[in-house]
């Protein structure tokens, strides 16, 4: 019974809440039961606020009874990645540094979700400070992939992806700096949407790299992602980089199909290092689009080969500065009886940060330090301009770009943890999109022979999430892989 209710998509649940055939309390309790059943294996949730969630569910039910639902998210249980601040709740970015940090305010995204009536059930696991591609750098243990719990759900939003895939929750918020929403979505047969940079407020989201970070939803269907984006999108006075652009109806064109659209196929993204099964799935998806009436155009993004180096120099430089605030003075981990101020800083930070975070802080500090700034940081910013230029040219010819989200399906937990470069390569197809600020989405694209999910990545023009979602929805209708639930 509980499995049945949690199997519904976000919008399917929402429709039943509107009809009154299901209550939000039913759905919330079903999620809590499901979490009780499977989360011991999946290990997606770090903290659950059952009491608060049920209270919000009851309030949503009262509104539903009065015919005054606030919108599609009213009464829908959702989860937050552990970097979204929620007032009065511990939010740790899955780090020891913030293990006991109680958020003193709400992130704008949290305010908007709560304002829309969403039932925020708890915080889910991630790579510490969103630095990682496997959720293994979390200070609180790794999360398992629901399709094979010995494998990674991807990262850094691995907890969000795993919880959604495991039918523990109807949708979850993630953040994407270099692929941290899309890559886990690809590895868990879920939909992950990274909006255009500036579309969704970053206020109250623990920063990794400010010029690249963007919050977005992970859901089981494209329409669900559109519904969540609708609520969280829009300018925010508290985020100077949020865009004053009008927020369109993201669901308006979901059913329009792709007839007449031009889809750019990034052939370079099917080259060396790409798993043959991933390649085959992508070629099949391309054929499907052609069959649906789209024109496939081969597109080159020559500078995207430089994206990995560009990304890591810029992201770590920004991170080294963003993470300077964790000094053991106002909040966070503080070393015991430091002998002086510098010992307080150095020991608190060394104890509170994990190895990957330290590695990136050191790399970023190096890239910004005197004598290296021009060779590394400024150089990377210039190459970033060239990478953007590639996309500008491509979008003169096509409406949307397609390629694999991840070069490989879910890998074994522990397999790449000791090899940072191998891990960084997991983001090679997703990070150009962040460097250019473009919207990108990963949609389920089938399974390997071993039953591991494969993701299709689509990249759109700036501010054209609606067009991107339209193309994604067409494929989802054609090949509804999302219906294949994991066996847990």
């Amino acid at each position: 019974m509980s499995t049945e209710l949690t199997d519904l998509s976000l919008l399917e649940l929402s429709n039943r809440l509107s009809e009154g055939t299901v209550t939000s309390r039913d759905a919330t309790e079903a999620c809590l039961r499901r979490i009780g059943e499977v989360d011991g294996t999946v290990r997606a949730f770090l903290r659950i606020d059952a009491e608060g969630a049920l209270a919000r569910a009851d309030a949503a039910d009262a509104r539903a009874r009065e015919g005054a639902r606030l919108g599609p998210l009213d009464g829908v249980p959702l989860a937050l990645k552990d970097n979204f601040l929620q007032e009065g709740r511990i939010v740790s970015a899955a780090s020891k540094m913030l293990e006991h940090f109680v958020a003193p305010y709400d992130a704008t995204v949290v305010q908007r979700l709560e304002g829309a009536g969403a039932v925020l059930l708890g915080h889910v696991n991630q790579d510490a400070f969103a630095m990682g591609s496997s959720t293994e750098t979390s200070a609180f243990g790794c999360t398992g992939n629901p399709y094979d719990v010995t494998r990674t759900p991807g990262g850094s939003s691995g907890g969000s992806a795993a919880a959604v895939a495991a039918r523990e929750i109807y949708g979850a918020m993630g953040t994407d700096t270099g692929g941290s929403i899309r890559q886990p979505a690809a590895l868990t047969n879920t939909v992950g949407l990274k909006p255009t940079y500036g579309r969704v407020s970053r206020y109250g989201v623990i920063s990794y790299a400010s010029s690249l970070d963007q919050p977005g939803p992970l859901t089981r269907t494209v329409a669900d992602a559109a519904a969540m984006l609708q609520v969280i999108a829009g300018v925010d006075e508290k985020d100077a980089t949020s865009a004053p652009h009008a927020v369109p109806d993201f669901s308006a064109h979901l059913d329009r199909g792709v007839e007449g659209l031009r889809i750019g196929f990034v052939r370079e993204h099917l080259g060396d290092g790409v798993d043959p099964e991933v390649r085959d799935a992508l070629l099949a998806a391309a054929e499907a689009y052609e069959a649906m009436g789209a024109t496939l155009v081969d597109v080159e993004l020559p500078y995207s080969r430089q994206a990995l180096a560009t990304y890591y120099l810029i992201a770590t430089a920004e991170a080294s500065s963003n993470l300077a605030r964790y000094d053991g003075v106002r909040y966070g981990h503080r070393a015991a009886s430091p002998e002086d101020l510098n010992a307080l800083y150095a020991r608190s930070r060394s104890e509170g940060f994990g190895p990957e975070v330290k590695r990136r802080i050191l790399l970023g500090t190096y890239a910004l330090s005197a004598g290296f700034y021009d060779a590394y940081y400024v150089k990377a910013q210039k190459v970033r301009t060239l990478i953007r230029g590639d996309f500008d040219q491509a979008f003169q010819k096509v409406d949307v770009l397609m390629g694999p989200t991840s070069p490989v399906p879910a890998f074994k937990l522990g397999e790449k943890l000791e090899d940072p470069l191998a891990m960084y390569l997991m983001d090679v197809f997703t990070l150009p999109c962040n460097l250019a600020g473009l919207p990108g989405i990963s949609v389920p694209c089938g399974f390997t022979g071993g039953g591991l999910p494969i993701g299709l990545q689509l990249i759109g023009r700036p501010w054209d999430e609606a067009g991107l979602l339209r193309v994604a929805a067409a494929y989802e209708r054609h090949a509804p892989h999302h219906r294949r639930a994991p066996t847990l």
């Binding site: 500065s321 000094d327 003075v329």
Partner: protein, 479 residues
């Protein structure tokens, strides 16, 4: 080589707190003197997840200042992060402007006693202030108060165009006056809303190569500016004379010991890792904003001083005192428009009016007396109704009660007796009563004139018009 053979070269960096209601990047108040950590929010505490949200008024104030000082205002400037660890710096970086500041160039012309000095400006930029650490008496801890963290500052960086500590102090006063006229700064050195760092170097006179400069911090009064710079000049000359070299360093002015000393906390200050602030898009200033600020620029102190001198014939020092406070000039001009003798008004404004304001702890804005009332008081002096001394008493009473001069004069019977017949009668009476003294005076004891004058004034209870008494007495004694 004696110290007189060295040429000091000084450049000042002024930090002026912008008179906004809220901080640069959050809605916390900026007022001084609140209990520690009570004017703070997640943003200025540098909590996880916070982002800066730019205060528009701070930008307008910066543009206004740049225009007043003849700077080029950039259409697009950029924000940078200056990275260093310090307890009063919550985020571990300061948001400032580095590569592309909002204003560049410009100059301030200063009328110093030594003559006119033109100090070129390198640039002006906006940045956020840090908090404050104070030592805890017990326990060897420092306590951090972040009320100031995020308060908007304008940093005005001057070129090394100053040649003495006196010139430095004159420049600072002139700059402070300009900022106060613009309404962008309250000029309060004690509360730290106007403070400066000085870059000081010395070189042999006639040399063209600048010496190694040393940065002096913590100079928070005009007196300390002179003391700190003079101390530093002497210290540098000593070091050079004894064969040493000047180190590039930051030194702190110790007001208690009256000396400068190297700052330990700035040891790794040389690598601030500036980079563009990713949380703030570049700052674009529209031509409309520039024009609207330009249109509202007030008359600045130096131009105003020159106008007061030419329009009213005021002496430079009097004009200088008046223009030290823009409100005083307004008061002067409003009063002067109602009286024939502007110079008398100016003298009274810079003298008695300032005295009574100081004594009563009142401001011009809170004064119950209007310029028109003040003008009528001066009229009573002009037409001889009141002596200078009596007028001062009346002024005190006007400031206290807000009543008209005429009313006070009548009530207290303070008016001078100008009636020639009445005064003459008293003079005759006094001369009659002191026939012996009159005889002696006429016999050559001229000093008795003062005695007789005193007797007449006494009989008139001090209210006789002195000039009138003097004339009538002299007429009768000589005649």
């Amino acid at each position: 080589m004696p110290i007189a053979d060295f040429q000091p070269v000084i450049g000042l960096e002024v930090h002026a707190q912008l008179l906004t209601d809220t901080k640069l990047f959050c809605g916390c108040p900026t007022s001084f003197g609140a209990a520690p950590n009570t004017q703070v929010c997640p943003v200025c505490l540098g909590m996880p997840g916070v982002l800066p949200s730019l205060n528009a008024q701070a930008v307008r104030f910066a543009v206004r200042t740049g225009l007043a000082l003849g700077c080029r205002v950039r259409e697009q400037s950029a924000w940078s992060r200056k990275n260093y660890f310090y307890p009063d710096l919550p985020k571990g970086y300061q948001i400032t402007q580095f590569e592309r500041p909002i204003c560049e160039g410009g100059a301030l012309v200063v009328d110093a006693p030594s003559g006119e000095i033109r100090v070129r400006l390198h640039h002006i930029h906006i940045e956020e202030d840090a908090g404050k650490s104070v030592h805890d008496a017990e326990g060897g801890a420092s306590l951090v108060d972040l009320n100031r963290a995020g308060v908007p500052l304008l940093e005005i960086v001057g070129e090394p165009d100053l040649r003495s500590s006196e010139e430095a102090a004159e420049y600072l006063k002139a700059l402070r006056d300009v900022l106060m006229y613009l309404g962008v700064n309250d000029g309060n050195l004690e509360e730290g809303s106007f403070r400066c760092d000085a870059n000081v170097s010395v070189m042999p006179k006639g040399s063209k190569t600048l010496g190694q400069r040393v940065e002096l911090k913590n100079i928070n009064s005009f007196r300390f500016v002179r003391q700190a710079i003079d101390y530093e000049i002497a210290r540098q000359v000593d070091v050079i004379e004894s064969g040493g070299t000047i180190l590039q360093e930051t030194r702190l002015w110790d007001t208690v010991r009256g000396e400068t000393r190297a700052m330990r906390s700035k040891e790794d200050a040389h690598d601030y890792r500036y980079f563009p602030e990713p949380d703030l898009p570049p700052l674009r200033i529209s031509p409309e904003l520039i024009e609207s600020e330009r249109a509202q620029l007030p008359e600045l102190p130096r131009a105003l001083r020159q106008r007061l001198m030419s329009q009213y014939g005021l002496a430079a020092d009097v004009a200088g005192v008046l223009t030290s406070d823009r409100a005083l000039v307004t008061w002067f001009e409003e009063t002067a428009a109602l009286t024939p003798d502007a110079r008398r008004v100016a003298n009274w404004c810079q003298g008695e009016l300032l005295r009574v304001l100081k004594e009563t702890g009142t401001s011009l804005q809170a004064l119950k007396m209007t310029p028109a009332m003040f003008a009528r008081l001066l009229q009573l002096v002009e037409n001889g109704t009141l002596s200078q001394n009596a007028a001062k008493d009346v002024l005190d009473e006007m400031v206290r009660s807000g009543r008209e001069a005429q009313v006070i004069v009548e009530e207290k019977g303070l008016g001078q007796i100008n009636d020639e017949g009445a005064v003459a009668a008293v003079v005759d009476e006094v001369l009659g009563a002191h026939a012996a003294e009159v005889e002696k005076y006429r016999g050559g004891q001229q000093k008795l004139f003062g005695f007789l004058m005193g007797q007449v004034m006494k009989a008139l209870r001090g209210k006789g018009n002195p000039q009138l008494v003097n004339r009538l007495l002299r007429d009768r004694l000589e005649g």
